[in-house]
Symmetry: C2
Subunit: 177 residues, 2 copies
């Protein structure tokens, strides 16, 4: 149990954004297992206020990619998981947005556990109305939250990255009482 | 790797809220390892807009507990992790709140990996100004986000729970494109 526990802690700590993918299919069952990880995320009053569009069709991916400065990454990824807040299920803006964050992180960790790569793209929110037009959802019900670009990691390209994004030391942001 | 992968997926899927704790200390190094899991959470522009007060002192726990309907759980937990948004680090309300959710879920999964239990308490936000008074932080810098009550699980009491909170089937919230 102890070694299993430290393996799992290591996996949580070793997740990083991946932006370089090879062209390889990810099978639908793997994607479903990843979504299952999000399914069990916590949410205020257990409202589960999330909706996910799994986009693999090249035309739809292209349409999305045109709405982001990171479109190149989105197109090269096998799938784009387009995450929406379901406003009819939500009940408190702060808690709903936190639930979406918990849900998204659960997906990212599931992807990492599967040995796949992903990056969380929030920048596309600047074009959220145009994303709504693609999916034709009622805007009073669904609000775009982010896109996860997901694919098989291009290890050759990823290994060339000289530095990774740093994190603050924990003593910078904790206090004991 | 494959079995390690399915272990992590199982871990993510098996996390649940725990509300019954025994009185037993959790050592500070374990708490630090849990916080390390959050340290590596993703955030928009890598702003890492989080702050955590780790409260174990009985008097401070009591003061917090009086501000929540779930005070009994908070007092019986060994530690209360009081999570704030660092508004000086944040840059976009929607993305900052999502980052806090990702951070919080990383802590909850780290706690679960350690075999400990926790529950995410958002309801205390109704008294956020009073929580600010306890910590005396400048309110223009820090905004209360939630409390995680963390402790050693009382397995006897937890096993008596007849039902767990349900989740929607994934087909209810996914679409394929």
């Amino acid at each position: 149990m102890e070694s299993k526990s430290s393996d799992l802690i290591s996996l949580i700590k070793s997740r990083r954004s991946r932006r370089n993918f090879i062209f390889q299919k990810v099978d639908n069952n793997t994607i479903k297992e990843i979504i299952e990880c999000g399914r069990w995320a916590p949410s205020g009053n257990n409202t589960q206020p999330w909706k996910v569009c799994i986009v693999t069709h090249p035309t739809v991916k292209r349409m999305l990619a045109e709405l982001s400065d990171y479109g190149g990454i989105m197109e090269s990824a096998y799938a784009n998981l387009v995450i929406f807040l379901d406003k009819e299920r939500g009940y408190d803006r702060v808690k709903d947005l936190q639930a979406i964050g918990a849900f998204t992180q659960s997906l990212l960790l599931g992807i990492h556990a599967k040995g796949l790569g992903a990056v969380w793209i929030g920048e596309i929110l600047k074009n959220k109305e145009k994303v709504d037009e693609i999916f034709k959802f009622p805007t009073e019900k669904y609000e775009l939250m982010c896109v996860i670009a997901l694919g098989v990691i291009d290890e050759a390209l990823e290994s060339k990255k000289v530095e990774e994004r740093e994190r603050r030391e924990i003593d910078e942001f904790i206090d004991w009482f």
